[in-house]
């Protein structure tokens, strides 16, 4: 045992002593934060895009302009709603009610802001000032030809801004035709907004032609069923499926991706580590002191320690934020997702999945590494291995859709899938006995794989069996 711990300790210190470890320790949370917030900052940093509408019929222009206004209103409502739900959940309902009661978008923002300033002034600091994605202006020229210089930036608008695009709404034989002019060829959202607006307009016109009262036609267009999803199980209480019920699935999905990326990156560390030791010619010396199995376990423990250190740091950071979110924003989206991570079944599944998945995939990668003479040779193996590792991810989407489908149930008892599918299925009410059973099965599978991997490891490092010899390109001896 002491030899295993010595091997583990040396590997641990070697990794922790490398500057790359400290870099990943510090940069990973920063990168995650950047990935989470960069799109928001980018979206906020971009000024609204300036559009203009040319239309043969004023009704078409009005319908499209209204669609843009509605979108801007909904965007603002969504942003204000998300903010108050996170920062001031106790008054979120009132703030949104005030927004909805206001006559315009700007007034709605002000009304919600007023509620926050009166009742939760501490949450006012970062209150959003959403700006619309598009601003509609009167056409600076009478037709498309005259608009061209504005559209390709040869000419700016009177206030110095650039015209982003122009919608030319024509009627051909009575039917609307949309021409969208813009130099931003890959972005067609404005034309899609116009299309949806004019489709509704066409339906309204058709209803009126059929003799339906215009007001009634508008009412008919606004018809939309309400949907309630219900859970029939006794444990589900009222049965209504809300975010609180769905949150564990989102958390499980996030944990499955974390597990997958950790297993893959840590397994790569093991693979390259053992290849480096082979090329350093140190294994012969070590093998007179430790058996291949001891060395394999020692190495797995050493790198597990590295992962544990990373997770302890990140976990302490993330856990603090999550528990803060779970308690202080209990009713908000963030709070409910945070609370879902603390679901006991999910924690058990993650613990089993992480330990067993790491040991199993780690042992496989160590064994593969022992068969390689160089990183280049390892890369030839990584392709097929990556495909095998991708297979569990392919089952995650179907498992989310139907965690109790027979194929998913069966696959969750196949060791290479178990760590991931157990995570996905756990929040769906997987019985504890089944979780324990999968844990026991994984424990047995890990032992078998460790023993097999030790044999391959011995063949690789002692008898110098390699990928090359396996494929008969080079004889060793």
């Amino acid at each position: 045992m002491s030899q295993i711990l010595l091997v583990a300790r040396r590997d641990y210190l070697a990794y922790v002593g490398a500057w790359g470890f400290w870099l990943s320790l510090i940069t990973a949370p920063l990168i995650i934060a950047i990935l989470m917030f960069a799109p928001i900052f980018l979206a906020r940093a971009e000024p609204p895009r300036v559009l203009t509408i040319l239309a043969e019929r004023a009704e078409d222009a009005t319908a499209v302009a209204n669609a843009f206004d509605t979108m801007a209103l909904e965007d603002a409502r969504r942003e204000v709603s998300a903010y108050v739900a996170a920062a001031a959940p106790a008054i979120a309902t009132d703030a949104i009610a005030a927004f909805d009661a206001a006559p315009s978008r700007e007034a709605g923002i002000q009304a919600a802001r007023h509620i926050v300033s009166m009742r939760e002034p501490r949450a006012l600091g970062a209150f959003p000032a959403p700006s619309p994605r598009y601003i509609l202006i009167d056409p600076p020229a009478a037709d498309v030809e005259a608009l061209r210089p504005y559209l390709d930036a040869r000419q700016t608008l009177a206030d110095g801004r650039t015209l982003y695009g122009a919608l030319n709404l024509r009627r051909v034989e009575g039917a609307p035709r949309i021409e969208y002019w813009s130099v931003n060829l890959s972005h067609d959202e404005p034309s899609n907004i116009a299309r949806r607006a004019l489709r509704l307009e066409m339906q309204r016109e058709a209803l009126v032609v059929q003799g339906v009262d215009p007001a009634e036609a508008e009412r008919l267009q606004a018809l939309d069923p309400s949907i309630t999803q219900l859970d029939p199980r006794p444990s589900a209480g009222t049965g209504e499926v809300t975010l609180r019920q769905r949150a564990p699935s989102f958390a499980a999905l996030a944990l499955a991706f974390i597990l997958w990326s950790v297993v893959f990156s840590v397994a790569n560390m093991l693979l390259t580590g053992v290849i480096e030791e082979k090329s350093n010619k140190i294994l012969d010396t070590l093998l007179t002191s430790v058996s291949p199995l001891q060395m394999l376990i020692g190495k797995l423990l050493g790198v597990a320690g590295v992962s544990a250190t990373l997770f302890l740091f990140w976990g302490a950071l993330g856990g603090t934020l999550l528990s803060m979110a779970a308690t202080s924003m209990a009713d908000s989206f963030v709070g409910q997702i945070a609370a879902a991570f603390l679901e006991p079944r999910l924690i058990a599944a993650f613990a089993i999945g992480f330990v067993a998945g790491y040991l199993m995939y780690g042992a496989i990668f160590l064994a593969l590494g022992s068969l390689c003479e160089s990183i280049q040779e390892a890369q030839t193996l990584l392709g097929p291995v990556a495909l095998v590792l991708a297979m569990p991810m392919m089952l995650i989407t179907p498992a989310l859709d139907n965690p109790n489908a027979p194929i998913i149930e069966m696959a969750s008892w196949v060791p290479i899938f178990t760590p991931f599918l157990l995570l996905i299925r756990a929040p769906a009410g997987l019985p504890w006995i089944e979780i324990a059973g999968m844990g026991a099965m994984m424990f047995a599978a890990v032992i078998v794989i460790l023993l097999l991997a030790a044999q391959i490891f011995r063949a690789g490092v002692v008898n110098q069996l390699s990928v090359s010899t396996l494929f008969g390109r080079k004889a060793k001896g």
Partner: protein, 311 residues
């Protein structure tokens, strides 16, 4: 004397290729034992079987009175032919680490590492990383790492390769010192001079098979010996001693003297040759029996092609 190691009928096959074929030998307790042979003779495979790294295809090994086990291997120091240390470890860290893997407590391992490095002129670099040391220094560190746990049995595989002549001498001294401390040492080499200077007993392997096992004098006795002679004037030594059973041939002439080469054997040795010269009244100006070398002995045993060139 008790045997520290006994190997019986060792065979190692790699697929269809036989690297070691039915080799048996015995290493006495406290001896310096050399395993000699050209590159590819099967020396490293034999040594790797002795330390349990390779499993023999057939045969038995008894190490310090028992079969190879983790416990007996704790008492063995091993320097493999393919050497290497963790490049990012310090010299003392590397020595202490390998000693600790052999069961030495940490505090003792570090003290021994410091003492060994100091004693071998590496005290100043003890905290330097292996990757910053010269190849020779790193090799010395590895030798020290193999003996830091004070093993009873030390196995060095080609320990002199890669060392300059000065460090080869230092290593020879280290081997003698370890033997003087009562340890058994077995090393392999393809350079006969090291074995000749150090070994009590030797094993010669050629083509995976044992060609000889015994003491160095026993091996030297197998080498054909010669003596170089020089006579003044026209004296015909071959004609004078030929009838007495000596095989003598003319080797050249210089300044009016004749040089002769006499081929000796056990019954007609250098002493008998000198006596015969005196009896025949040969005007000798030079009598120089040439000392046989291990290299010559092994050429006689296995032929020129199987042997490496002498260094």
């Amino acid at each position: 004397m008790n045997a520290a190691l006994e190997a019986e009928g060792l065979v190692k096959r790699y697929g269809a290729r036989t690297a070691v074929q039915d080799i048996s030998f015995s290493v006495p307790q406290g001896a310096i034992y050399g395993v000699l042979g050209p590159n590819g003779a099967g020396k490293s495979s034999t040594l790797r079987m002795l330390v349990g790294v390779l499993r023999p295809t057939a045969g038995q090994i008894t190490l310090m009175g028992g079969p190879i086990s983790r416990q007996t291997l704790q008492r063995v120091g091993y320097l493999p032919e393919e050497r290497g240390l963790y490049r990012s470890m310090s010299a003392r860290g590397a020595i202490a680490y390998l000693a600790r893997l052999k069961g030495t407590p940490a505090s003792i391992a570090y003290k021994r590492a410091d003492a060994l490095l100091e004693a071998h002129g590496l005290g100043k670099v003890r905290r330097k990383k292996i990757k910053t040391l010269s190849k020779g220094m790193a090799q010395k560190v590895q030798v020290l790492a193999s003996i830091a746990h004070e093993p009873d049995f030390i196995i060095f595989d080609e320990p002199f390769s890669g060392l300059d002549p000065v460090n080869q001498r230092v290593l020879e001294d280290t081997i003698r010192a370890q033997a003087a401390a009562g340890r058994t040492i077995l090393f392999s080499t393809h350079v006969m001079e090291h074995a000749e200077r150090l070994c009590d007993r030797i094993l010669l392997i050629a083509h995976g098979q044992k060609a000889f096992e015994g003491t160095v004098p026993e091996a030297l006795a197998l080498a054909p010996s010669v003596a170089m002679l020089e006579t003044d004037g026209d004296f015909d030594l071959a004609a004078a001693l030929g009838p007495r059973g000596f095989n003598i041939e003319l080797d050249g002439q210089e300044h009016g003297n004749k040089r002769w080469r006499a081929h000796l054997d056990n019954s007609k040795g250098s002493r008998q040759l000198l006596a015969a010269c005196v009896e025949a009244g040969a005007p000798l100006s030079l009598f120089e029996p040439a000392r046989a070398s291990l290299h010559e002995a092994f050429v006689a045993l296995v032929g020129d092609k199987a042997m490496p060139a002498a260094e």
